[in-house]
Symmetry: C2
Subunit: 308 residues, 2 copies
């Protein structure tokens, strides 16, 4: 029989009472209610079915990192606080990026397809140890990936907008100097948002500048790569391979040439699996509930005028 | 025109003048000669074509970690120092073990085989982050793998003969207590030598004790696993999958059921690729040349009476 020291935080989890998130809210001291009585809404649906909000809702927590669909639907207003899941899934995506890179270097793809083709595979296996990996985009994914690459004995070059030093990277370059990295790198991981500036940053010119043993990993968005130029480079052996969790278009057409290339690994946009999303988000939501109740700065507040 | 402070170390690199090793010997101050004039022999051949050694050879450096073939051929004597390559390739093998584990957890195998099968693959992807990995065998491979797993957010249980604490492992158990680990682990990496004691340490009983989501990685030797029991467990979904760089027999028969299982990844014994072996060995050889010249304790001295 304790008396709450702060006003009760009533939280609606909609459109369904997702159990991991309901439990997280309760564990952090929130009370689950319907939307009419809620001070906060945890929205696990999409943009098109977003409900009309009572003025009493002070905070809306969205489940995705990218919020394009909510911006498009015009639901984000300035009457309350909005948070997304930016950064919540970074560990998961970083792990997938490492899995893709190692799968390529270690020829897991061709091993799966060609049974005990030892002579050819042995000659194609390369080591991540001792190599230089450039990460384009220095947000949460890069922050989570860098220690993994460091433990694997790889050196990291980070590229971000500002060029502000990224902890753990041997070198950080601003995106304006991106042209310098291609000849200095062994492998590339794309982890940048999709914007007009990042569109086709991997193109015929950058592919020509990369070394022949280079693998390109994309865990960001398909349009960062000029896919036609990539296919040409892969067909001609200009680079060693591409391991893609995202494509453009996505998914590729069933008769797209990209499916037939032996030096391509495609996973179906599962770096952050939808099946485990709410479980992954739960501890972060709990932390934001705690912060809201304590009046502290919230995680992943959506900045006005940005859609990523 | 410097005068050597120690007698010249003459080294034969045979049966071929392998360039990476010749360069390593020279860089460490050794002089390349023929076998008749050599104080040291770097032998990059096998056991059957091993030459008769002049008594003037004080040190033989073998290129492999396992030296069964030289023991079988009866060439190892007690007239001089013998070194093998134990530990030289640990980073490489540890990296392959991590690649296999992540490839399984991240469903790279089924992604390569089944195009954009998102619904099924999404539900099958699991994260290494937050899991417990048991490494059986706590030698160089484990030492190299533990920091990689640690950076990936996985906890490690190590099992070795003595139970002497392995740095970085959350728990170390002696092999006599191995039965305790199966229910406490999410995934297993086999990195132990092949001995009568380790034969079939993965068997019907241990497979039954492992959780359903477990992946087993074998970068050691095929006989550590009772392969018939493994196939049954994989067919029946008793564990999630097996990622194997070694098999028993090796390679599996072309019509072996193991090739047809979707939850198996097989790479053709390439964790330490033969194609890159001398390049990987070169810096270690250079260090041993330096130590020999300086009269220091050598790396990887072959202990009498052991064949691994």
């Amino acid at each position: 029989m304790t008396t709450p020291s702060t006003p009760e935080l009533t939280v609606a989890v909609e459109p369904e009472h997702e159990p991991h998130l309901v439990e997280a809210v309760r564990a952090a001291g929130g009370a689950i209610t319907g939307l009419a009585d809620a001070r906060a809404l945890v929205w696990v649906g999409g943009g098109t079915d977003f409900p009309a909000l009572p003025d009493t809702v002070e905070w809306v927590a969205l489940k995705t990192a990218g919020i394009e669909e909510f911006v498009t639907a015009g639901v984000i207003d300035d009457k309350r606080l909005w948070t997304n899941a930016s950064g919540f899934y970074a560990d998961n995506v970083a792990e997938h990026a490492l899995a893709l890179l190692l799968a390529g270097l270690r020829q897991i793809n061709t091993s799966v397809l060609r049974h005990w083709d030892k002579e050819r595979i042995d000659a194609s296996v390369r080591s991540l140890h001792g190599s230089t990996v450039t990460i384009i985009g220095a947000g949460g994914i890069a922050t989570s990936l860098i220690p993994r690459l460091d433990a694997a004995g790889a050196k990291v070059i980070a590229v971000n907008r500002s060029g502000r030093e990224v902890p753990g990277a041997a070198l950080t370059l601003p995106s304006a100097r991106m042209a310098e990295v291609w000849t200095a790198t062994d492998h590339v991981v794309l982890a940048a948002p999709s914007t007009p500036e990042t569109r086709h940053l991997i193109n015929g010119d950058t592919l020509a500048a990369l070394p022949e043993h280079a693998w390109i990993v994309n865990v960001a968005r398909g349009p960062l790569i000029d896919q036609a130029a990539l296919i040409t480079a892969l067909r001609e052996g200009q680079i060693a391979g591409a391991a893609l969790d995202v494509t453009d278009p996505e998914p590729p057409d069933p008769d797209d040439e990209i499916w037939s290339l032996p030096n391509v690994i495609i996973t179906p946009h599962v770096a952050n699996p939808a099946s485990g999303l709410t479980r992954t988000m739960a501890p972060w939501l709990a932390e934001n509930v705690r912060r809201f109740r304590a009046g502290e700065q919230m995680l992943s507040v959506v900045a006005a005028g940005r859609d990523y």
